[in-house]
């Protein structure tokens, strides 16, 4: 087993375990912290796939900004562990069975896939900032500018919704 595969399996185990802990922990603050762990391992996967720019953006935007926002909201609401009434056992069972059957269907469709060398991951340098920047500002300038309008409307929307009236 190569060192890349070893790192991949370790990172995958950590991310799946942390995602399960996000589901299972009662305290919402612990859930937020487990989700930060998931985001860091996904950034590790991006580095493993030679997508350095996305790894850095993932850490800055997700683990840095979005999760801090979540943490602020959770702490502002002062939710403790017994504030949330859990669903009935029947509803939990139905949710787990439906999610598990979705996973089963997708995995069985995947297992029918035949193996050839097109499915192997290749090495290239397109994850580097210089190549991504060329693509972004040559072919995707208009979506980039429209996303700034999206952010403006998100700011205005958050203020309007969150305003006390």
């Amino acid at each position: 087993m190569s060192i890349t595969a070893l790192i991949f399996y370790i990172l995958s185990a950590i991310s799946i375990g942390a995602a399960l802990m996000l589901l299972l922990s009662k305290n919402p603050v612990h859930s937020v912290l487990w989700l930060v762990v998931v985001f860091f391992t996904i950034s590790g996967h991006y580095i493993l796939l030679n997508a350095q720019f996305l790894a850095v953006v993932n850490i800055i935007v997700y683990a840095g900004a979005i999760m801090v926002l979540f943490l602020f909201v959770v702490m502002l609401m002062n939710l403790n562990a017994d504030a949330e009434p859990s669903r009935s056992m029947r509803m939990k069972l139905i949710g787990i069975i439906s999610g598990g059957s979705l996973l089963l269907v997708l995995l069985s469709a995947l297992m029918n896939m035949e193996n050839n060398q097109h499915l192997q991951l290749k090495v290239g340098d397109e994850g580097l900032i210089v190549n991504l920047g060329k693509t972004l500002f040559n072919y995707y300038v208009i979506p980039f500018e429209i996303s700034s309008i999206l952010f403006l409307s998100a700011i205005i929307g958050a203020v309007v919704v969150g305003k006390k009236d």
């Binding site: 890349t4 996904i42 991951l121 693509t135």
Partner: protein, 109 residues
């Protein structure tokens, strides 16, 4: 590495997110599970971009760059979505003094 390993990992993360949305009742946890599903899809996009990897400096129009730009835009939209969604959750908490999604059943009858 085989692409199958990444597909399986993304499927498992996505399914955990779906089960979280179905099982939990806390609106914030449901929102975090949606973020988890978004990240699983992002990871899959990056893995597929690695399948079509070429040397970008040789081939100027590299298809693999497009996937990573898509992931970048997904993150942009997710950041905007989180700010509005958390504002909605705060407003819901102010009105009902709870983040339980089962309180939101006024459209039911």
């Amino acid at each position: 590495m085989d692409i199958k390993a990444y597909i399986v990992l993304s499927l498992i993360l996505f399914t955990i997110g779906i089960i979280g949305v179905l099982v939990r009742r806390n609106a914030i946890i449901i929102f975090m599970c949606i973020e988890l599903m978004l990240n699983a899809v992002n990871l899959l996009l990056v893995a597929f971009s690695r399948m079509h990897a070429t040397n970008a400096s040789v081939n100027h129009v590299a298809a693999a760059n497009d996937a990573q730009v898509f992931v970048f835009f997904t993150m942009v939209v997710a950041a905007a979505e989180v700010s509005v969604g958390l504002a909605i959750i705060v407003m819901m908490f102010r009105n009902t003094h709870s983040v339980d999604v089962n309180f939101l059943n006024r459209l039911k009858n």
